[in-house]
């Protein structure tokens, strides 16, 4: 159970990216975050695992206040929150396997991991996660030798190595073609449905929202302006979210 209360974020330059956002997500839910470019979706997701420090408000996760956690506690919390990025954010010169194993960094002995030594069980787990997303045979290639779709699968495998109970996906398919987009979304859906992992996923395409999300929230200029099931987003709501000149595609 994730509960966001009155969350606000003002960047150093004075840009108010989030304004008093409140919502909650049940464990195992698939929540889509929609909104125009610049509406604060990325900021919201990054506030949840405190890659960005919120300015005010509270984020409660299973009763623990994330915003009040100390640095050590935050690392422990982050272990349980996987993250998937629009631009994959792999370490391009490292091997695929190393990239996936990086998902275990919060669990392993920090000194041994500094020498790139991981327990055998973690290596096996990494290979099976790669197998699950269908690219086990690429494990020993350099990450930048993979195609975009393959790289995003590595990104998902890395997140799954954390054995997360929640995954934050920031426009995970925005740099992929529609076919690949579906296959990546299906991986997220599988994680969500089979393992009960909560997924918060920001998306640009409404058909993806309709197809995969249980619920959607919409941001406009940093403020929450819709919270409900995707099928409630009718043409009128759509224009409210995306502006009155927007046209629906897809």
């Amino acid at each position: 159970m994730l509960e966001v209360r009155n969350l606000s974020k003002t960047y150093d330059g004075g840009m108010q990216a989030l304004k008093n956002v409140s919502f909650s997500v049940k464990q195992g839910e698939f929540l889509a975050v929609i909104g125009l470019s610049g509406s604060g979706k990325s900021t919201l997701l990054r506030c949840i695992n405190r890659l960005i420090e919120p300015t005010s408000g509270q984020i409660l996760w299973n009763g623990q206040d994330i915003t009040a956690a100390s640095q050590d506690e935050m690392r422990h919390i982050r272990r349980k929150i996987g993250m998937v990025f629009q631009h994959f954010n792999l370490v391009s010169r490292s091997k695929v396997l190393t990239n996936v194993l990086a998902g275990r960094l919060g669990y392993v002995n920090p000194i041994l991991s500094a020498f790139n030594r991981f327990p055998e069980s973690d290596v096996q787990m990494a290979l099976s996660q790669l197998d699950r997303v269908g690219i086990k045979n690429q494990a020993y290639k350099r990450a930048d030798e993979l195609s975009g779709g393959q790289q995003q699968r590595v990104g998902i495998a890395r997140a799954m190595m954390q054995e997360p109970t929640m995954v934050l996906a920031d426009e995970p398919v925005a740099s992929l073609d529609p076919v690949l987009a579906h296959s990546i979304m299906q991986h997220l859906e599988e994680i969500n449905k089979q393992e009960g992992v909560t997924v918060l996923c920001s998306l640009h395409f409404l058909d993806l929202v309709h197809r995969y999300a249980d619920r959607a929230i919409a941001l406009k200029e940093g403020a929450l302006m819709f919270d409900g099931p995707p099928n409630q987003i009718n043409d009128e709501k759509f224009r409210e979210i995306y502006g009155k000149d927007a046209e629906r595609i897809g």
Partner: protein, 612 residues
């Protein structure tokens, strides 16, 4: 657009031109521009001489043999004339314009087939019954041209006229055998090797230090380091305390090791046993270190204790290994004539380095362990305790830390300026530091995170910029004073300069890495060290290699001139040769420098292309 010229504009142009003229005139005067001098006969002659010598680097040399060429000659012409002498024209030979002449008369001599550009002497040889082999009297010198010919005019000596034929002799030198490397070339070769290795060592050790420093001087990494006051204050107390304890421990144990005597067996056994012990203890320690979030003071204390034991074991094993290597090295090098002397010597040199670095290691580890523990403690004070308690701690700890820092800084300055006055070096800095600490503790909210990272970043940047602005040549002067003339001083100077310049360049590379992977690794719950190793290091390896190559290239260049201030290498010889007006040898040195610098430039550019 058409330009309109107003009188005002023209006037301005005139003034500007005048101004520029004045500036240049002043520049000429302060740089002593003197065209008179450049045209003077004497200057031109010496310029020609030097340029010609430089154009003839003395790379090769020959063995020389003396040749004497003689033709019979009558002093005082006989009435019946002189027989025309038979001249063997197969080798060097001389011809005289006449076969006889009166004493003191001038004769013309022509020489052919002599060594090109060689010089020699001409003498008159008088034969007598007492000296059947002849007594030569020097009457002149010759200088053969580029074809080996010469013409000379000499005055005959004032001797008695004799009826018997005397002789005119030209003594020259001819090259025999194949050309061989000149002595100058050999010295140049030795010195150029010295130069390249000086640059290599400086680059290698400079880089080793520059890499860790570069992380502290990278804004994007340090920006995020924020700590509450209690953490900073305790770290400020813990680090110096730990470093002091480390140095003390290192001295204590190296004293104990001296007591053990010089028995090889004991040192060997000690090195093996203690190293094995620390290895297994380290493994056990790593395996049993569970990261529990709950702040159990007892558990942390036990961990600290283990860490200290491990540090001590490591220190003792380092001391043992250093001593062992020194002993082995001494055993291996009974004299300088043993084969592979330099390899054997290297063993004891490594031993020496280890022994020198042991206190440094002890200080860093001691500081790290104690400083780390203290700063954790400070973090917990801020994380766990209520605000009022944290404030109380801050009010005690911050003045303490401020006083410590103040005293340390003034003690450092005392070494330079020798105040010798405890009021200046002890009481007032302690008081001022404590006051500043107290003010901070009062002013700052107890749990507020302070941007300590950006502060440390600023200190590192300032130090690096300061060091970098000191030329390696000037550093070399200081090091020559410390370790004496020679390549070691040069290598140290270049090494220090390398640390400063490369740390700056490296840190700029760290600052330009992609932030995406960094963010992704952080999001997995990795700690700072893991984030650096997994997200930063892979991204910076190629530019680091490229900059290191580039620095080697620069260091080779620099090490060729660092000898000018006594730093060893080729520059040392070059300067000597120039001072001794030995321009042909200097030319060899310069040629070698040009070749080495050009090939380093080429190699490094190829390697850099490969890695970037």
């Amino acid at each position: 657009m058409k330009k309109t010229t107003t009188p005002l504009k023209s006037l301005a142009t005139g003034f500007i031109t005048l101004f520029v003229l004045i500036i240049f005139a002043y520049g000429f005067s302060v740089t002593n521009v003197n065209f008179e001098e450049t045209r003077s006969e004497r200057r031109l002659a010496s310029l020609t001489r030097i340029l010609r010598a430089l154009a003839h680097p003395k790379i090769f040399d020959y063995n020389y043999e003396t040749v004497n060429v003689e033709v019979p000659f009558y002093l005082g012409c006989p009435a019946d004339g002189v027989p025309f002498p038979e001249v063997d024209r197969s080798g060097a030979f001389i011809l005289i314009n006449s076969g006889c002449a009166a004493p003191k008369e001038t004769i013309q001599i022509e020489g052919h087939n002599f060594q090109e550009n060689s010089s020699g002497s001409i003498s008159f040889v008088g034969f007598s019954p007492e000296a059947p082999d002849g007594v030569p009297i020097g009457i002149g010198n010759f200088q053969a041209d580029a074809q080996g010919n010469f013409k000379a005019e000499v005055n005959l000596p004032n001797r008695q006229i004799k009826e018997e034929p005397q002789a005119i002799r030209a003594t020259g030198q001819i090259q025999v055998g194949a050309p061989m490397l000149s002595q100058e070339s050999k010295v140049t070769w030795e010195k150029i090797i010295e130069t390249v290795f000086m640059a290599l060592l400086a680059t290698a050790f400079g880089t080793l230090l520059a890499v860790p420093i570069s992380f502290f001087a990278a804004r994007n990494l340090m920006e995020e380091v924020k700590s509450p006051l209690s953490n900073i204050a305790l770290a400020l107390i813990g680090w110096p305390l730990g470093m002091w304890l480390g140095i003390e421990a290192s001295q204590f144990f190296s004293g104990l090791l001296t007591l053990l005597g010089n028995s090889f067996l004991i040192t060997f056994a000690g090195a093996i046993i203690v190293s094995a012990l620390s290895f297994f203890f380290a493994r056990w320690f790593l395996a049993h270190q569970s990261e529990d979030l709950e702040f159990r003071f007892k558990q942390r204390l036990i961990n600290l204790l283990y860490a200290l034991i491990l540090a001590l074991l490591a220190l003792i094993s380092i001391l043992f290994i250093g001593k062992l290597l020194l002993q082995v090295g001494a055993y291996l090098t009974p004299s300088k004539d043993v084969p592979l002397y330099f390899l054997r010597k290297f063993v004891s040199q490594i031993g020496e380095i280890i022994s020198i670095l042991a206190p440094v290691f002890a200080a860093l580890v001691g500081g790290g362990v104690l400083g780390g523990f203290f700063s954790q403690l400070g973090q917990k004070i801020s994380d766990r305790l209520p605000a009022s308690a944290a404030k109380t701690f801050n009010l005690i700890l911050a003045p303490l830390a401020g006083a410590t820092l103040g005293v340390l800084i003034m003690q450092g300055l005392d070494w330079f300026y020798q105040f010798n006055n405890p009021a200046v070096t002890l009481y007032s800095p302690a008081f001022i530091g404590a006051a500043i600490g107290l003010i901070l503790a009062i002013a700052i909210a107890p749990k507020q995170s302070l941007p300590i990272g950006i502060f440390i970043y600023g200190i590192f940047r300032t130090l690096l910029n300061g060091t970098r602005s000191v030329e390696a040549l000037i550093m070399a002067i200081v090091f020559v004073a410390w370790v004496g003339l020679g390549p070691f001083a040069g290598a140290l100077a270049l090494g220090l300069h390398t640390v400063a310049s490369n740390a700056k360049l490296y840190s700029e590379q760290v600052e330009s890495i992609l932030s995406g992977p960094l963010e992704a690794i952080q999001a997995t719950g990795a700690n700072r060290l893991q984030t650096i190793i997994f997200a930063v290091v892979p991204q910076i390896i190629p530019p680091y290699i490229s900059y290191t190559m580039y620095r080697w290239d620069i260091n080779v260049r620099m090490s060729t001139i660092i000898g000018f201030v006594g730093g060893g290498g080729i520059g040392f010889i070059l300067q000597q040769n120039i001072n001794l007006l030995n321009y042909r040898a200097a030319s060899v040195n310069m040629l070698a420098i040009a070749i080495v610098v050009a090939s380093m430039d080429y190699i490094s550019s190829i390697l850099r292309e490969k890695y970037v």
